[in-house]
């Protein structure tokens, strides 16, 4: 009789199509008024032996049915979830929600790269104003009044302030002057910043950026200047055997003065940096002129050192293959997206300068 009940209940469990139906089956079988419960209640009327035997049978049946219900419940839940998940299907090919990420301008990135390299050589960053006076921009840098070298700088002038001739700095070299006036040697600084010259064509813009370097101590000589710039150029351009050529030149504020060329090839109209036999000028440098040291209150019989200056756009153009200088200042979103750098790409010597 119990076997028949078991078969009947099990078939009911298996037939239950959802959790509600299954609950109904559970109540029918195991509820307070359930059929198995009913048989349990009848146990009291049986002899002890019969009761034990019957009790065991009933408990076994109860456990079996309960297990069947649990198992069925899990199946139903799984099927239910399965069905829900099927129903929840989305089109994963749809485009994601718009996120915009801006770009860092190549000038900022290039300056950060330069700072990373020179920091390794013990330089710190100095700054100075864009609006300068004639003293800091020219006189202290050993440009005698009326000297033709002043002609080389197409200076933008502002109205005179009292007896001071005001101008927009034509180079970052006035930061040398300001640094030396405020700090005693040893000095080892770089000074990136905006500079201005009255010239506007394919290869000149009225505003551009330079980076200045200055080392002053008692022992730095031209060999150090070469060593420093060779290290810098090779790291910056990421060309291990990049040759550098130092040519004598003239700047009023250095003596001796040199211009520096790096090796390149122009074969087929394409510029390539490296040891290919051709040369490209990239910077000017030299040993700081004693007159400049003296103008800045530094004893030129004791201290000496070097200075250099480099156009930032120029080396950025070379390094990143940017063809036109003027586009740097147009704020064209397409250009910024293309030549700009993602914000978390912070150059460092440890992680690499260039991705």
């Amino acid at each position: 009789m119990l076997d028949a009940l078991k078969d009947e209940l099990l078939s009911q469990v298996n037939a239950a199509g959802d959790l509600a139906a299954l609950e109904e089956v559970r109540v029918t079988a195991l509820g307070k008024k359930g059929r198995i419960t009913g048989f349990m209640k009848e146990l009291g009327g049986l002899s002890p032996d019969e009761r034990r035997e019957r009790g065991q049978q009933l408990n076994a049946l109860k456990d079996e049915i309960a297990a069947a219900i649990d198992s069925r419940k899990a199946d139903l839940a799984r099927a239910h979830l399965e069905a829900r998940l099927q129903a929840e299907r989305i089109d994963v090919t749809l485009p994601v929600r718009p996120e915009t990420e801006g770009r860092i301008h190549p000038i900022s990135q290039t300056i950060d790269e330069m700072v990373a390299i020179f920091a390794e050589m013990g330089f710190s960053v100095a700054e100075g104003p864009d609006v300068e006076d004639d003293f800091h921009n020219f006189t202290a840098l050993n440009f005698p009044p009326g000297h033709p070298a002043r002609d080389m700088h197409d200076t933008f002038y502002l109205p005179d302030a009292g007896d001071k001739k005001m101008l927009l700095r034509t180079h970052t070299s006035p930061v040398q002057v300001r640094t030396m006036l405020n700090k005693k040697p040893p000095i080892r600084i770089i000074a990136p910043g905006r500079t201005y010259r009255s010239d506007y064509d394919m290869t000149h813009t009225p505003m551009f950026h330079q980076i200045e370097g200055l080392v002053i101590d008692e022992a730095t000589h031209m060999g150090h200047l070469k060593g420093c710039l060779i290290e810098f150029c090779r790291a910056f351009f990421d060309v291990d055997d990049l040759p550098l050529r130092f040519r004598p030149s003239f700047f009023p504020f250095t003596e001796p003065s040199a211009e520096v060329d790096i090796g390149c090839s122009r074969k087929g109209g394409e510029l390539k940096l490296g040891n290919y036999g051709d040369w490209l000028e990239i910077l000017g440098c030299g040993m700081v002129h004693p007159n400049v040291l003296e103008a800045c209150g530094i004893d030129s019989t004791r201290y000496q050192g070097f200075a250099f200056g480099m156009g930032i756009e120029r080396v950025a153009m070379l390094k990143y293959g940017i063809p036109d200088l003027r586009t740097f200042f147009e704020a064209d979103l397409r250009w910024l997206k293309h030549y700009g750098f993602v914000p978390l790409d912070v150059p460092s010597m440890a992680q690499g300068l260039t991705r």
Binding site: P129, Y157, A161
Partner: protein
């Protein structure tokens, strides 16, 4: 500065090849900009004689020539209208490359007649644009000789870029001297015998302005015959791109380039009375040799006769007294002019001349007479006539100075050992005199050096070191690593500098792209942003739209947004970190981080509704910058007094106490209208210099973190307040109600409309309570709620919305 190889060899005895010379010039600091060697290109072309010319049997315009090339007679078909028997021209054999037409000649058959080569036009040889006929050479042209050699084109032309200190190398002799010192040959001696005067000069010279012209040497020539220059002189000038004019003028130009000694030849018959060197008079003018008339002023030096200015000293001659083909009597000038005045006058009048180029750099003060003598010999040789005695006014300026060189300085400053003897040799070869040697000590003591008269640029020991290094070669200096004074490097950036970088990268992460725009803008644009005073208006702007220093970066960014929109990119986010200018002094500029957004903040998209930019986007940008830069953002106050280029009702100022840290908001529609940009555009300006630096006491440790074991709980309150009550007032009141427990207050709803009394709005706050000691009981929470309601009511007059 251009010169030819053979011209150089007039002064330099050398076996060096052109390539060696070119390389050495650059290594000496005489940077070679280019070398033009036409002899290579023109090698196949020879002088030839047309023996006969017959009409082509099958073509009216063609002739069949027999050409004598010097080695053979060839049949050539030619279409030139001037092809005729007896003509001497330039012949190109088959196989020759024709530079002017970029083809290589092949043997051809033209209309059935064989043609072996070609008679050339000037264009085909790239000599000029002339192509109407073939080249016609004089009858005496030697048949069979290479044309380049015959025409004086066989001489490579070297173009060097001269630094402003090297006036001596503005003459071929100076260049030769440098090369000789560097071991590339021997400097030839210069013939220097003076010419004895045949008569006394009828003209005297008076210097009234000795500062402007310390020395003037003149010489009168009579009975000269001016005409075309001889071939050697003509060819030299043509080769370096000068136009031969007449023998007298050509000789002065030749000496200018040969010795860097400018001269001027007056037609003496047009000079009245004699020569006076004086400052120009107010209102005086000069019709110059270049055909232009210049107004003069008393800062300018003129060479005058007894009536008027005849030349601008050191710059250009006057037309009236210039030499012509009919000139018979000449007065030749060789003088020294003050470099600064020469440069200033040249710049003021915009005159570039070969004389100015040299005299403003400073010519050899000891070679005035010798230059005159050399010119004298050439004039007598070429133009005949006779020369007067020299007229010398003023005197040779003092140029001798004794400098000291400690030979050890070459290694100390230059980083390379150059033996003392070699240093001495170099200096002597450059023309220095060693007037004394203190030869004590191992490396030798100091050298006493008198630099040559032509090297006004050598002033001190550093200059002498440079000369030694330059000739010895910069290549020979070994590269030496910079020594480090510590194993690890210290940070290169100060806190202030570092936060500029953080600002940039923060804004870029937020979706704005970094622009770098001009520090200038147009005056009227600047006026929209508060304007700048006269002191920040450029005296010589490059153009009217870049004539003042920008008082705000926003103007440039808004215009950039407009340009991008015009290209079809209307959703714009741009920022710039750079200077804005307050006053015209070195301390009158601030570092500002400014940015703008235009178009949609959220573009149209299937999952989200598009949303245009609004003032809160700009506020968020400003806050993010302040946070990145380390400003105490929780202590900032917002006020609504942003300047006039912002929308008065949709803008704010972020302050720390009285100090303005930032401004943000919608840009005023009038500003956008004036700039022609479609709005709305929102923007912000953060004044990075105004943000206080973090205090660094107590090292790098942060305050100990307080992590409460009790859960925070949130309670919502909706208040009805007057519609002009600022949300910030409610937030502050709620926060202040219980500073220990209220951790955060946010606004989750602002409502105005039906169900609310006119002039009121509902502001819903979510308040986060953070118990620190124990879980709060309901009555305690209730009590805090009441405190919050009371505080808000007190601050704003608002009440809980029922």
């Amino acid at each position: 500065m251009k010169f030819t190889l053979s011209w150089l060899k007039d002064h330099l005895e050398t076996d060096a090849t052109l390539d060696q010379i070119v390389e050495k010039l650059t290594a000496l600091g005489l940077e070679v900009e280019g070398v033009e060697d036409r002899s290579k290109e023109l090698k196949p072309f020879r002088v030839a004689h047309v023996v006969s010319a017959e009409k082509h049997p099958d073509a009216d315009k063609l002739r069949v020539l027999v050409v004598d090339t010097g080695t053979e007679k060839l049949q050539v078909v030619c279409g030139a209208p001037n092809a005729r028997a007896g003509l001497k021209g330039v012949f190109a054999p088959e196989g020759a490359y024709i530079p002017g037409s970029d083809i290589t000649l092949k043997k051809g058959v033209i209309r059935g007649v064989e043609s072996n080569g070609m008679m050339c036009s000037e264009r085909e040889l790239k000599l000029s644009e002339e192509h109407n006929g073939i080249i016609e050479l004089p009858e005496d042209a030697p048949v069979g000789v290479a044309y380049a050699e015959y025409a004086g084109l066989g001489d490579p032309v070297i173009d060097i870029s001269l630094t402003p200190d090297r006036a001596d190398c503005a003459g071929v002799r100076g260049i030769a001297r440098d090369l000789a010192a560097a071991g590339l040959g021997r400097l030839r001696p210069l013939a220097a015998e003076p010419v004895k005067g045949a008569f006394a000069s009828p003209f005297g010279v008076t210097i009234e302005a000795p500062d402007a012209c310390p020395m003037y040497v003149g010489r009168y020539f009579r009975g000269v015959k001016n005409g075309p220059s001889p071939k050697w002189l003509h060819d030299k000038l043509v080769a370096i791109g000068l136009r031969p004019i007449s023998a007298l003028v050509d000789i002065t130009n030749f000496i200018t380039f040969d010795l860097s000694r400018p001269l001027h030849a007056f037609d003496a018959d047009k000079v009245k009375g004699g020569i006076v060197v004086r400052m120009a008079r107010e209102g005086e003018t000069l019709a110059a040799l270049n055909g232009k008339e210049y107004p003069l002023d008393p800062s300018m030096t003129v060479i005058a006769d007894h009536e008027r200015a005849e030349a601008l000293g050191g710059i250009i001659g006057g037309e009236a007294s210039g030499c012509t083909e009919t000139t018979v009597n000449v007065f030749l000038e060789a003088a020294i002019f003050d470099t600064v005045r020469t440069a200033q006058t040249g710049r003021k009048l915009g005159i570039e001349s070969d004389a100015r180029y040299r005299l403003e750099r400073g010519v050899d003060p000891a070679a005035v007479v010798s230059g005159m003598e050399r010119a004298t010999r050439l004039i007598l040789e070429i133009c005949g006539g006779e020369a007067s005695d020299l007229v010398i006014a003023g005197e040779e300026p003092q140029w001798r100075r004794t400098l000291t060189l400690r030979p050890g300085r070459v290694a100390a400053l230059g980083g390379v050992e150059v033996p003392r003897d070699e240093q001495t040799r170099i200096l002597i070869d450059l023309g220095c005199e060693i007037v004394g040697e203190d030869a004590t000590g191992e490396s030798g003591g100091t050298l006493r050096v008198v630099p040559p008269s032509w090297r006004a640029d050598i002033h001190g020991e550093a200059d002498l070191v440079e000369e030694v290094l330059r000739i010895h070669g910069f290549d020979a200096i070994p590269a030496t690593p910079l020594p480090r004074d510590s194993v690890l490097t210290r940070p290169a950036l100060t806190t202030k500098q570092r936060r500029v970088g953080l600002t940039k990268r923060t804004l870029a992460v937020r979706g704005l792209s970094e622009a770098v725009t001009w520090s200038f803008m147009a005056g009227p644009v600047a006026a929209l942003f508060g304007g700048v005073g006269e002191g920040l208006t450029l005296v010589n702007p490059i153009s009217a739209d870049l004539d003042v220093m920008r008082p705000s970066i926003l103007g440039n960014l808004i215009q950039a947004a407009g340009r991008n929109a015009d290209r079809g990119y209307a959703d714009v986010g741009l920022f710039e970190v750079g200077p804005a200018f307050r006053k015209p002094s070195p301390d009158g500029q601030d570092i500002v981080a400014a940015g703008i957004r235009a178009g949609n903040a959220v573009p149209r998209h299937w999952a989200e509704k598009a949303r245009g930019v609004d003032a809160y986007d700009a506020k968020a940008d400003a806050m993010a910058v302040l946070e990145a830069a380390g400003a105490p953002v929780t202590n900032l106050q917002v006020t609504t007094d942003a300047p006039g280029w912002y929308h008065p009702g949709r803008s704010g100022v972020l302050r720390l106490g009285p100090t303005v840290m930032a401004r943000f908001g919608e840009i005023h529609p009038t500003v956008l209208g004036t700039l022609g940009v479609k709005g709305p555009v929102v923007g912000f300006e953060v004044f990075l210099d105004a943000i206080p630096l973090p205090k660094k006491k107590g090292g790098t440790a942060r305050p100990l973190v307080q992590l409460s074991p009790f859960q925070p709980l949130e309670r919502d309150f909706a208040f009805v307040v007057g519609k002009d009550v600022e949300a910030d007032k409610l937030i502050r009141a709620a926060k202040g109600a219980d500073k220990a427990l209220v951790r955060d207050v946010t606004v989750f709803d602002v409502y105005q409309g039906t169900n609310l009394e006119e002039g009121k709005k509902s502001v819903a706050l979510s308040v986060t309570l953070q118990p620190t000691e124990r879980t709060l009981t309901e009555p305690e929470i209730e009590a805090i709620g009441q405190k919050i309601v009371a505080a808000v009511a007190k601050a704003t007059g608002g009440s809980l919305r029922s």
